[in-house]
Amino acid sequence: MEYLLDKVEIVVIGAGHAGIEAALASAKLGCKTILLTMSLDQIANMPCNPSIGGTAKGHLVREIDALGGEMGKAADENMLQSRILNRGKGPAVHSPRAQIDRNQYHVYMKNILETQKNLYIKQDEAVEIRLNKNTIAGVLTKLGAFIQTDAVIICCGTYLNSKIFVGQSSYFGGPDGSPSSGQFSQSLKNLNLKLRRFKTGTPARVNRRSIDFGKLEVQNGDDRITPFSFSNQKQLKNKIQCFIAYTNSKTHDIIKQNLKKSPLYSGFIEGIGPRYCPSIEDKIVRFADKPRHQLFIEPIGLQTQEMYLQGMSSSLPEDVQIDFLRTIKGLENVEIMRSAYAIEYDCLDPLELYPTLEHKKIRGLYGAGQFNGTSGYEEAAAQGLIAGINAARKIKGKAEFVLPRSSSYIGTLIDDLVTKGCTEPYRIMTARSEYRLLLRQDNADQRLTPLGFEIGLVNKEQYDKFMQKKQKISQEKSRIFKVIIKPSDDLNKEFISQGISRLNQPQKMGDLLKRPGVGYSVLEQYDQNMPDIPTDIKEQVEIDLKYEGYIKKQQQKVEAMRKLETKKLPPDIDYSAINELRLEAREKLNVVRPINLGQALRISGVNPADVAVLSIWLKRRGGANDK
């Protein structure tokens, strides 16, 4: 029996990492929001690795935080160990990564949602989306509630029609024993959404007491922890250690002998898996010459003995999993608590979305996270935030919020999705950005906090703090060009010991800082009037000076692209009617429907000549409108 629930403005389907950010953003921006989840006990679940961050993913978390999202704060609050990856390889690729207490993270996020004004959480399953012509009318739940709404944000993760594979056993179901959502998938197909089938996997969890830690390498966190959140005030501390183990020829032999039992190799799985996240059987087949593969053993929380085996995802039968794990030094007596499995699920072709993450054909329908073909908690959260912001802004009659590629990894990720689409689950990487030196994790606040404040997600306090920091940076930048450092025996001794060429003449401190290897750590003792300034400000000054040339070069690229991006393309263009475009370009443009000339140029199959034709077409159309 159906009954009518109170009307809301936004329904968010799914309370994973995307759904949380989407719901919080829309509620904070003043929209009455319902968050539907199949289980209240799985809010903010981490069904795969118990960690947040990593290369480029850490950047995303910092960006989410700078815009006023929740993930960074939650990660800091519940972290077990933290490291900056890639130290010494350059500021653009420094990435924070933290082990997270999985259960505590869930508890924390659930509480945040529960206490958010305008936000209502309901344990129920969406089964149908109803339209009024091409506009969202409402959502029907399994229990028969019909929720009238202006917008729906689908953040259903890997639950759509999901099927789990462990060896020859397979069943319909989601991660961690939860059900699969088949009816909802069918409802989306009925709306003519283009769904595809993707595949991913996760390794086994084992009991801590069954591991011989004496045989493993230890991996510790950083001494001084860099938090994810710019507003973090606490001194964060490492609480656990992680461990490294290695596979060997015996492990590989067992896997090779049992390959035919893997549903991946026997053809039962049809979904497309990610190249960057190969199962151990994939690694052994594809990289046959590697004598060993590395695995990380990571605690899942402080109140559990479960340990996660990063690097060992598999879809082989349970008995084979036990056999091959027990060939590994340190895991000879390992007890599996949850088996590794592969999961296949329906997801949307993101080419059907605008950069606002709204569907091109259904007004008020948004998608975020794995539903859009990505993989990863951070990628999901980033999209959830943007979908939430846009859904709310549209309802409030405000302009759309699209981050250009040059502003952020969030913008890069979404642009990749809606412009190029994806043929496998999409993971963010630093290699995906052409503006890497501009998009650093350390300057995410400078790039995005003003925007977050303007939208209304960053509060005045956080914004004022940011403005103070900005002022301090510019003060320090002008100060160091007034300070003269004179050569001295002590200074040169130190320079030479660090492989820096000697200082022969007095030089401005600012100019000296431009030299590779020369930092505040060496110079500040020779600056009599050195004020007491925080390390993050010194870091900004140093990076800005040292990479000045590169930063300028990248900014020129940004400028060239910005010109094209200011030329908007109306959404209702019929590209097939523009005869002067090449046929391939017409087809691609009709599918992608770019919002501006810059995006058009990034579509594969659209060349600069086509964009030139479009710019003339735009002008002609503009001229016609003038009359």
Binding site: G90, K283, S313, A612
Partner: protein, 452 residues
């Protein structure tokens, strides 16, 4: 106004006068660096004013001509524009364009001047479609040229270098994006060395740039054959000079005799070589070795045979090594009657019969030589522009590689080094329209075992 672009506005062919047009920001300033008017500086001139002067590179005068200055919005494009009229030799056109690009102009895209004219309201609405058609038509031409180039040896070479760069960058990226995986450490010395080698390869291409070579230094034409088949006679007839000594005694030409001729505006350097046979003495032996060496650098081979005699298979054997070089089989002594030679026509681009006594047969040979070279590498219309872009792209890649090497030597970090390597990849990929990040990411996943 948009950035300054430059291109030749008249057809690129040997002609009396050629016009090179610069348009956009700083176009007058850039033109003033390469064009010295006899009186005022170009930058002082008003719109619609012409000045006579010299085209100069540093202080050296390249040519003389006239520069016309247009000031925005009163020009074809609606932007500041300079039109330099110079002499119409291909060499000169190429040189002037090179100077424009070296001083800050970019090569104009197809139809770009007209596009700018439209966008700056210099054309009415009805002309818009014509402009779009024009751009489209030209992009088809460019595409054809690109496709033609793709099958060429030069493209393959560049593509190979590009692949090497992607491989290096892919390794660094895998190492940066997957710091926890056991990926081989990136060694800065190795990378610098490998990049240095690729840079040298690119520089070689620039140096040996085929079209440039042909136009600038002429088609290297090596004349070979058995002794006493008439190589020197044909050389002399082609050049119209008695440079090689002609006798009835076989083995007269012992060293390589060089002469230059012009056929239809294209220069050919003729190398008359010693007849190839078992040498009779040490001096002749050296001559024969030199003849064989010369074949290595030939752009064109004229294989001369005595048409009145049967061709010995051994005569052809040494040519087999050079199957990529266009070859003309010249059957000489046609007046003595042609025998039924067993020539495998497919070994040659064409077969020409000549007689020293009939000048028109020599004229025919000249035409065949010109046709063959045009066909193979030399088209007077679009490709020169296309190739000019190619050259700029390669030059930029060389600069960016140098930037990467400098960054490594100065101890900069890998994120910055990668930016320069990727710029270099982008420079080369511009020729095929691919995007470097896609190639690099594919490389990461195909070569490295990364992931959870």
């Amino acid at each position: 106004m948009e950035k300054c672009i430059a291109a030749v506005a008249t057809p690129i062919a040997p002609s009396g006068i050629a016009v090179i047009r610069l348009s956009g920001i700083d176009s007058i300033k850039i033109a003033s660096k390469i064009f010295r008017p006899v009186k005022k500086n170009l930058e002082m001139l008003n719109g619609y004013t012409a000045a006579y002067g010299h085209i100069v590179e540093k202080e050296e005068i390249i040519d003389d001509g006239v520069a016309l200055v247009f000031r925005a919005p009163n020009s074809y494009t609606g932007e500041d524009t300079v039109e330099i009229s110079c002499h119409g030799g291909i060499l000169i056109i190429e040189k002037v364009l090179e100077l424009c690009y070296a001083n800050g102009a970019s090569p104009a895209q197809n139809g770009e001047f007209t596009k700018r004219a439209f966008l700056n309201n210099k054309m009415n609405l009805t002309q818009a479609e014509a402009v779009m058609d024009l751009i489209n038509a030209q992009s088809v031409v460019a595409l054809k040229a690109a496709n033609a180039a793709k099958s060429g040896a030069l493209y393959k070479k560049i593509d190979n270098i590009c692949k090497n760069m992607v491989e290096i960058d892919g390794h660094i990226q895998a190492w940066l994006d997957y710091p926890d995986e056991d990926i081989d450490l990136v060694d800065s010395k190795n990378v610098a060395q490998e990049l240095g080698m690729l840079k040298i390869e690119l520089e070689k291409i620039l140096k040996n740039y085929r079209l440039g070579n042909l136009v600038k230094s002429g088609v290297k034409t090596v004349i070979v054959g058995k002794p006493n088949v008439g190589k020197s006679t044909i050389t002399n007839l082609l050049s119209g000079r008695e440079k090689s000594i002609v006798t009835d005694i076989s083995g007269t030409t012992r060293d390589i005799v060089e002469s230059e001729i012009q056929i239809g505006g294209l220069a050919f350097i003729l190398f008359d070589t010693a007849g190839i046979r078992e040498a009779q003495d040490a001096v002749e032996k050296i001559g024969i070795e030199r003849a064989k060496d010369k074949l290595e650098e030939a752009d064109l081979i004229l294989f001369i045979a005595d048409g009145s005699q049967n061709i010995d298979k051994t005569e052809l054997e040494f040519l087999r090594k050079h199957d990529k070089i266009p070859k003309i089989c010249v059957l000489n002594k046609e007046d003595l009657g042609i025998l039924g030679q067993k020539i495998n026509v497919s070994d040659f681009s064409c077969v020409v019969k000549t007689s020293c006594k009939k000048p028109d047969t020599i004229e025919n040979l000249k035409q065949k030589m010109l046709e063959l070279m045009k066909l193979n590498s030399f088209d007077c219309s679009a490709p020169l522009i296309f190739n000019e872009r190619q050259k700029i792209a390669i030059k930029k890649a060389v600069e960016d590689l140098q930037g990467a090497i400098n960054a490594i030597e100065n101890g900069l970090t890998w994120d910055a080094i990668c930016v320069s390597i990727e710029d270099a990849i982008d420079d080369l990929l511009e020729l095929t329209g691919e995007i470097s990040s896609e190639r690099v990411i594919d490389e990461v996943f195909s070569k490295f075992c990364v992931g959870k």
